[in-house]
């Protein structure tokens, strides 16, 4: 049993900390609502442009896209050690509304490449070989507008 405490805090008060986590995290967990009251979680790379959170999803792993289209309420959890190490935070959860942008699966997501590259420089190497797995590179953008943020703070 741990004796750590946390304090949920509103977005306006914690933006710099959350922004720090979003920029540093290599992986975040996106949770979406499936039918029948199920919630499904997926590890994805969080990309942040200062206002919205973006993730991309290949059509190969498109179940999440269908869930979001049916119910746009999502949560993004960030507790990646790459992000929280060196801070007093255990993580953060951002609840928001997600939109699936899939009008140009082939190239539309490429506008996020500069953000993606910062976290996974090898993406360019793999992208050059997109002919080897063309469906993997047909990707939708998941655009998340934050509504509420909870910061999970460890107390020493």
């Amino acid at each position: 049993m741990n004796d750590e405490t946390v304090s949920p805090t509103r977005l306006s008060e914690v933006s710099p900390e959350v922004e720090h986590l979003l920029i540093r995290a290599l992986v975040a967990e996106l949770s979406v609502i499936a039918g029948g009251g199920r919630v499904v979680s997926y590890p994805l790379i969080p990309l942040f442009d200062g206002e919205k959170i973006y993730m991309t999803s290949s059509v190969l792993f498109s179940k999440k896209l269908e869930h979001i289209k049916a119910n746009p309420k999502v949560a993004v959890s960030i507790s990646d050690p790459s992000a929280v190490s060196g801070t007093e935070l255990a993580g953060a959860t951002i609840q928001g509304e997600a939109a699936v942008i899939d009008d140009d699966l082939h190239e539309g997501w490429m506008r996020l490449l500069p953000l993606w590259r910062q976290k996974e420089p090898s993406v360019d190497v793999f992208l050059k070989k997109r002919f080897a797995m063309p469906l993997f590179w047909e990707r939708a953008i998941i655009e998340i507008t934050p509504k509420r943020v909870f910061v999970w703070r460890r107390e020493s």
Partner: protein, 448 residues
């Protein structure tokens, strides 16, 4: 973030995970995620969770999904060692912590299911999404690749070495025997290549119709077909049309050549085209009966070499047929090895290739014997005067056969691990065929 785990069997394997995220649907109907300390549960397939916070609506009985995810960051690269595990169930009180008995477990570990296989297993979902989107948008949405890439993939152009080498070898043997190669050789090369490309495309079509390629979730650049049909890059109708059209175009060239060079070419080419067409086409479906290796050896060995020789010399010769033996064996071994990673899917589709029919040990033994026979045929050919002495140079790549054998032996059950062996096996055919061809041309040059 790992609580001490009790000693027990059949626990959910949480080793290596540093964090758990518990998510439920909160009272505002949003997913709510909370980090938690964790350990494997005391009962089978359960986890014990100690959330770092307990919001008021996180109460026993809540349906939750717990995700454990892991990556290993690599500077200037990104990350490796990806895996995750999700456990779905309900929060049950267990002292001052929670237990979740798994009602559903899912996840992925790239050390168990390699990334490419993971993607291949999901191709059906990807295609379904595109089809659904097409219906919604009212227009057909397909994965895109530049036309040249599509052609490159669909034709499997790199395998054309299997045609180029025997065509040049036939011409080289003719030159060695004093005949002058002419532009007819170039035309023959084009015709044979068209038939070969047509064969590749028809092969893909019939393997798609039979389900063999769909069932294959571990294709490699050397096996499992071109995948253009499975990925929706080309339609089956187009593949069939282009494959048949290219084959017909190759036949037309053969007929024209036969007018200029002699009618026997029709018989030689006819056998080759029939072997190519019925390699996977019904009713013969030679590859599905374990006769694919023999068909490939015959087609890309004596048939092409004899045809090419005939185009130059306007007759057949025992020397040309003999020269085809090593390349026939080695081209057969390309297929022989490339069938190994496909064997499970082939078996499901009723494609009873040699790799499906025989044990690992028999396949390895068969490779060693066949490769040795290929090189032995060169030694004997030189000894009895059917080959020039310089043909012995084609023995130089022989050690590569040992490398291929070892690669097969060590990676027999690993499709991706087999890739270096498959690559070297193709190189072996290319090197030996090129050396043989050069030997005949050089011998012709030095003999006057």
């Amino acid at each position: 973030m790992m609580l001490e785990a009790p000693s027990r069997s059949h626990a959910i394997d949480l080793e290596g995970y540093a964090k758990a995220i518990v998510t439920y649907i909160d009272d505002d109907d949003y997913p709510m995620s909370v980090p938690a300390d964790f350990r494997s549960g005391d009962s089978e397939a359960s986890v014990v969770l100690d959330p770092i916070s307990r919001p008021p609506d996180m109460h026993p009985g809540r349906r939750v999904t717990v995700i454990f995810s892991h990556i290993k960051p690599v500077e200037d690269f990104g990350y490796v060692d990806r895996r995750y595990l999700t456990v779905e169930g309900r929060l049950e009180p267990k002292g001052d912590v929670f237990e979740v008995k798994a009602e559903r477990i899912s996840g992925w570990d790239e050390s168990v299911v390699p990334f490419f296989e993971y993607c291949e297993r999901s191709v059906g979902r990807g295609r379904a999404y595109l089809e659904s989107l097409s219906r919604t948008e009212g227009k057909e949405i397909q994965p895109r690749l530049p036309l040249l890439w599509k052609m490159f993939l669909a034709t499997r152009a790199p395998f054309l070495t299997a045609t180029v080498i025997p065509v040049l070898l036939g011409a080289a043997v003719a030159r060695w025997q004093g005949y002058s190669a002419s532009w007819f050789t170039a035309v023959a090369l084009i015709g044979a290549s068209l038939v070969h490309i047509g064969l590749n495309m028809l092969n893909d079509y019939f393997d798609s119709v039979s389900g063999a390629d769909q069932m294959n979730v571990t294709p490699t650049p050397y096996s499992g077909g071109s995948r253009v049909l499975q990925y929706g890059l080309v339609s089956e109708k187009a593949m069939l049309g282009w494959g048949a059209g290219l084959m017909v175009a190759g036949c037309v060239i053969g007929v024209v050549l036969s007018v200029f060079r002699g009618p026997a070419l029709l018989a030689i080419g006819g056998i080759g085209v029939l072997l190519a067409f019925f390699y996977t086409a019904p009713p013969l479906r030679l590859a599905y009966r374990g006769l694919g290796d023999l068909a490939v050896a015959t087609g890309f060995g004596p048939i092409v070499v004899a045809g090419s020789y005939y185009v130059v010399a306007r007759k057949l010769s025992i020397e040309a047929l003999y020269a085809s033996i090593p390349v026939a064996i080695l081209v057969m071994l390309i297929l022989y090895v490339n069938q190994v990673p496909d064997r499970n899917a082939d078996a499901l589709a009723g494609k009873n290739t040699v790799a499906v029919r025989f044990s690992r040990e028999a396949i390895l033994r068969g490779y060693a014997i066949a490769a040795a026979a290929a090189f032995l045929s060169v030694v004997i050919g030189v000894a009895i005067g059917l080959m020039p002495t310089l043909a012995l140079l084609s023995l130089l790549p022989a050690p590569l056969a040992i490398v291929v054998y070892r690669g097969m032996r060590d990676n027999y059950d690993s499709p991706y691990g087999l890739m270096p062996a498959m690559s070297k096996n193709i190189a072996l055919h290319g090197l030996v065929g090129t050396a043989l061809t050069m030997a005949y041309f050089a011998s012709a040059y030095f003999s006057g």
